[in-house]
Symmetry: C2
Subunit: 212 residues, 2 copies
Amino acid sequence: MPAQLKKISESTIHRLSIYYRALAALEKENRTTISSKELAKRDKLTPAQVRKDLSFFGSFGTRGLGYPVVELRNRIAEIMGLNRLWNVALVGVGNIGSALAQYKEFAKQGFNIKLIFDNDLRKIGSNHKGIIVSDVRNLKSMVVSENIDIVIIAVPAASAQAVCDEVVAGGIKAILNFAPINLKVPDDVVLRNQNMCIELEHLAFALNNKNR
Amino acid sequence: MPAQLKKISESTIHRLSIYYRALAALEKENRTTISSKELAKRDKLTPAQVRKDLSFFGSFGTRGLGYPVVELRNRIAEIMGLNRLWNVALVGVGNIGSALAQYKEFAKQGFNIKLIFDNDLRKIGSNHKGIIVSDVRNLKSMVVSENIDIVIIAVPAASAQAVCDEVVAGGIKAILNFAPINLKVPDDVVLRNQNMCIELEHLAFALNNKNR
DNA sequence: TTATATTTGTGAACAGTTTCACAAAAGAAA
DNA sequence: TTTCTTTTGTGAAACTGTTCACAAATATAA
Ligand SMILES: NC(=O)c1ccc[n+]([C@@H]2O[C@H](COP(=O)([O-])OP(=O)(O)OC[C@H]3O[C@@H](n4cnc5c(N)ncnc54)[C@H](O)[C@@H]3O)[C@@H](O)[C@H]2O)c1
Ligand SMILES: NC(=O)c1ccc[n+]([C@@H]2O[C@H](COP(=O)([O-])OP(=O)(O)OC[C@H]3O[C@@H](n4cnc5c(N)ncnc54)[C@H](O)[C@@H]3O)[C@@H](O)[C@H]2O)c1
């Protein structure tokens, strides 16, 4: 039962991230095995869901006992590509960009912010946590020369598509976008949007429809 | 066909947010009507999807013509609770919290950050975009007295559950959490998590499984 | 060694979501 | 008016994702 054959759903990938975190915690507690039941309870999921998700990638459990914590964690890391370093470039170091540049969790998970870009002359050349801010005019050439895998876009909405086009031209295949705009990318580029207003709108909807 | 009867899925709510934005843009362009076909194309959806989503809430289109832009936008605002002001409190004004405090998009959509809290004496009393940072010890009483609807948690993971418990005790029913931790909340509290590492992990998975 | 208890892995049933397809309604043209 | 075109609204079909239920495998206890 090697490498997965079926298409894996977004929800399964999301839960894999969740299992990965739970397993990391269990590893710290020196737990050696965990059952689908217990793993499910930690995150308000069902045991069947856990088993089904894992079964897409093989069978790493032991019946009557559960899953080996360390091994399963490694296996998920392998599946998700978390057992390696990813080179990340951040474009736009304003309010949100600065916060992201400081964020230690990224490096811990193997996401190494290697380059930072801006178009503001006062920011170019300045030092952000040991990284010198580059001129955005060098964006395309530098994402190529520095082997960037993932680009985070944190520029105003009006500039986001231009930045996006540049990095796509530089061969980037994965983008995390914070600008509240629909970026157009080719089919082979994966784009994820982090839109905080939409998150608040979900909450507003929930509050607005409580007593229905 | 008044007020919706069936349970509305998360995906439908999400798309409603998307339609709302598209309609706002169309309104600026002085478009009076839009067909499901055109609305769909803007966001890589299908016309049937658009019509189905809207049909859960009534029928506001005109056959042969499409939907009236202004009217539909108002109707969605009504459904989602975007035609009013929501009082928001932000807890933790560090890297990400400061960025959020500056973020103008929130106010534009009716999310009014009314209170900001921190536990750092150097920050309490300081002025953030016209808002004086309050002592987190007053969190529970002030979310009540100031009629806060939504709380944004932007404190370190280790403090997030304590903050969460306080605001829940203060009667808050909607929370947007930025700490990378599973908060425990009662069933009647809506919680949404914004976990940026998980977003990057989705991208890592996609890159890692490109040539499968 | 045998019996009993756990827990996995997985087809099958079920539930939820999206897409299809078309009648009905309205607009536009003749 | 009549005809033709467009587009909605919506059941039904197709698809996708979740939960069920149980045989098989292994652990644990007697
Ligand atoms: N502030 C927030 O909390 C927040 C939250 C969610 C999303 N966003 C979005 O993130 C983006 C940035 O927001 P912000 O609040 O940090 O704004 P900001 O104005 O503080 O920062 C934008 C930065 O991008 C730089 N920039 C502008 N055009 C550029 C270009 N063409 N190339 C390179 N750099 C360029 C600016 O010099 C500035 O440093 C916006 O799209 C905003 O809507 C912000
Ligand atoms: N920096 C980022 O880009 C980023 C991105 C995603 C998520 N996050 C998460 O957001 C949270 C905050 O991150 P940050 O980078 O802004 O950290 P930070 O240390 O810069 O800010 C945390 C703030 O919370 C305050 N605080 C601590 N304990 C508190 C308490 N009990 N009550 C009230 N205030 C308290 C601190 O004084 C500080 O001002 C963390 O959980 C982090 O994982 C950060």
